[in-house]
């Protein structure tokens, strides 16, 4: 019995003590309107420069963004990873009514307020990839004060407008494939379907069909081998939970597709002129999820003076430039932060 207890204790000590996910940085929760939002602050907090990551999806965990490129950024700055309500590994039991863009903005503000209390935040930057670009835009429309810069990475600031561009992406890809006589069974009828969908409100069946086609067309990863996947460290030795990912994945998307008020709030193109802080617009040339046309829509409509907004297109990337062109991404982000820190 004593031997068994000793082995159990040793095993427990070994398992709880290992892994950077379990030991590094400042980790805490922000409790907001029924949700428990995990926040992980890593890197050089002494710099006073904090970059807050707004995870994509909606549904992704910001922890999955930890990569060599963000670790390089952590050498100079603090990087803040946090999971939004009902996404990633966020816990709690928030009511469906709190799954709204307004509450996501309130949560972001609560996280940033707590961050400012726990750390000496001198300059704060927001990084918003994909859905994170939706949330970042919504946040900045209400809270630009105290934000030194906005880094919009393939962000979807207008879901209805983007729907047409995204349909065009699969249509053009299908036409090329059909003209070349390649994968004809897959792409037959797609141009006609895509054209017929333009201007319609997004519903889940159409969105899933488009997503399958976009993935086949390489709209997420220009080079599929660049996908980092979920490593064993993230799955086993981190706060991450595969069960939570399965459970949470889709909650927000289902809600926004069925809630007209939520959906309508996602159309923010005409409001971009109200955002006037320094902005860096980063996009993958081959992005099919949020095509590069949206980069120009963002850049052109932002109210930021031209000398303080920048557009960088990554020529070998689709939707995931930090994984496809990490050096170029790192250079662009570092130059921007150094200019406005």
């Amino acid at each position: 019995m004593r031997t068994l207890a000793t082995v159990a204790l040793l095993l427990a000590a070994l398992l709880t003590g290992c892994g950077r996910f379990q030991t590094e940085g400042d980790f805490f929760f922000v409790r907001s309107a029924g949700a428990d939002l995990p926040v992980w602050v890593r890197g050089n907090t002494d710099s006073g420069v904090f970059m807050v990551v707004l995870a994509g999806g909606p549904g992704n965990s910001s922890m999955s963004y930890l990569s060599p490129v963000t670790e390089s950024l952590e050498e100079k700055y603090a990087v803040v990873y946090w999971d939004q309500r009902a996404t990633g590994v966020a816990q709690g039991n928030p009511t469906p009514e709190t799954i709204s863009l307004a509450q996501f903005v309130a949560d972001t503000h609560a996280v940033i307020s707590t961050l400012r209390q726990r750390h000496d935040v001198q300059k704060l930057f927001l990084l918003g990839p994909s859905w994170g670009g939706t949330l970042g835009t919504a946040y900045l429309l209400e809270h630009q004060e105290g934000v030194a810069g906005w880094i919009d990475l393939d962000g979807n600031h207008d879901w209805q407008k983007n729907w047409d561009f995204a349909l065009d992406y699969v249509k053009v890809h299908a036409e090329r494939k059909l003209a070349a006589g390649e994968e004809v069974d897959t792409w037959r009828g797609v141009p006609e379907w895509a054209e017929s969908m333009k201007g319609t409100r997004i519903i889940s069946d159409n969105l899933w069909k488009w997503q399958r086609l976009c993935t086949k067309a390489g709209g997420y990863f220009h080079e599929p081998s660049n996908s980092p996947g979920l490593g064993a460290e993230l799955l086993l030795f981190s706060p991450f939970s595969f069960g939570a990912m399965l459970t949470n994945n889709g909650i927000v998307l289902e809600k926004l597709l069925s809630d007209d008020a939520f959906y309508d709030a996602l159309q923010m193109s005409s409001k971009l002129s109200r955002i006037t802080i320094p902005s860096l617009v980063l996009w993958g040339r081959h992005d099919g999820a949020v095509p590069v046309a949206m980069a120009h829509d963002a850049y052109d409509n932002l109210g930021t003076p031209p000398e303080h907004k920048f557009l960088v297109i990554f020529e070998k990337s689709a939707h995931m430039a930090p994984f496809e062109e990490p050096e170029a991404f790192l250079t662009a982000v570092t130059q921007f932060i150094e200019k406005y820190r």
């Binding site: 427990a12 928030p94 595969f242 939570a244 459970t247």
Partner: protein, 208 residues
């Protein structure tokens, strides 16, 4: 307006008729009685009263998040190589930087034991799971003030299912022990208004 509680006369048996008339209940009862009849054998007159065993196991939520479970079990029906057992368990585990779970659960299921002691079992049940955040929590008031948030934890229903393999050392008189491993699936409801699935592995010993 006053409400009166219904009064039951002393000695009046509970009225089971309406419950037993439900097809699902009758079907479940028929299944239990059938299995019991198949497994049961006449008890020996010299059989001594069975002592409740103690079960202690390492519980690894997703294998590596450590925990412990202790419990006992009762043989509801025993016969030949088979038995129907009822288990009762108390336990907990730590998912670092995610949550701490404490639970009480009960499972019922079947166990088949070979003559040399190897056994397999299939159990299912339910329990109560209480989870606490594994880390400091903060709340932000409407005026923007940030304060530590008290965490009384969150209650959850915990359905469970386990598939086990064990070695009953008592069967051949080696020791009054059984060693076992179980693959367990348990749920946490509600979690974001849904059921959160957990997987766990148990490695344990039963003192018989």
């Amino acid at each position: 307006m006053d409400f009166q509680l219904p009064v039951t006369q002393a000695g009046t048996p509970p009225r089971l008729g309406p419950i037993l008339s439900r097809p699902s209940v009758r079907l479940a009862l028929a299944a239990v009685i059938s299995v019991a009849a198949l497994l049961s054998s006449p008890a020996r007159a010299d059989e001594s009263p069975t002592r409740l065993p103690l079960t202690v196991a390492y519980l690894g939520e997703t294998l590596v998040h450590p925990g412990l479970t202790v419990g006992t079990e009762l043989s509801l029906v025993r016969g030949g190589s088979g038995a129907i057992v009822l288990t009762g368990n108390l336990g907990g585990y730590v998912h670092p930087r995610n949550h701490v779970g404490l639970f009480a659960s009960a499972e019922v299921g079947g166990r088949l034991t070979a003559s040399f002691g190897l056994y397999g079992e299939l159990l299912a049940g339910a329990g109560y799971l209480h989870t606490f955040l594994q880390g400091p929590a903060y709340g932000v008031s409407p005026d923007g003030a940030v304060q530590p948030a008290a965490d009384a934890g969150r209650p959850a229903l915990m359905p469970t299912a386990s598939l086990g393999l064990g070695w009953d050392l008592q069967r051949n008189g080696v020791a009054p022990l059984a060693l076992f491993t179980r693959a367990t699936l348990f749920g946490q409801f509600p979690f974001n208004q849904r059921l959160l699935p957990h997987a766990a592995v148990q490695l344990g010993v039963r003192f018989q």
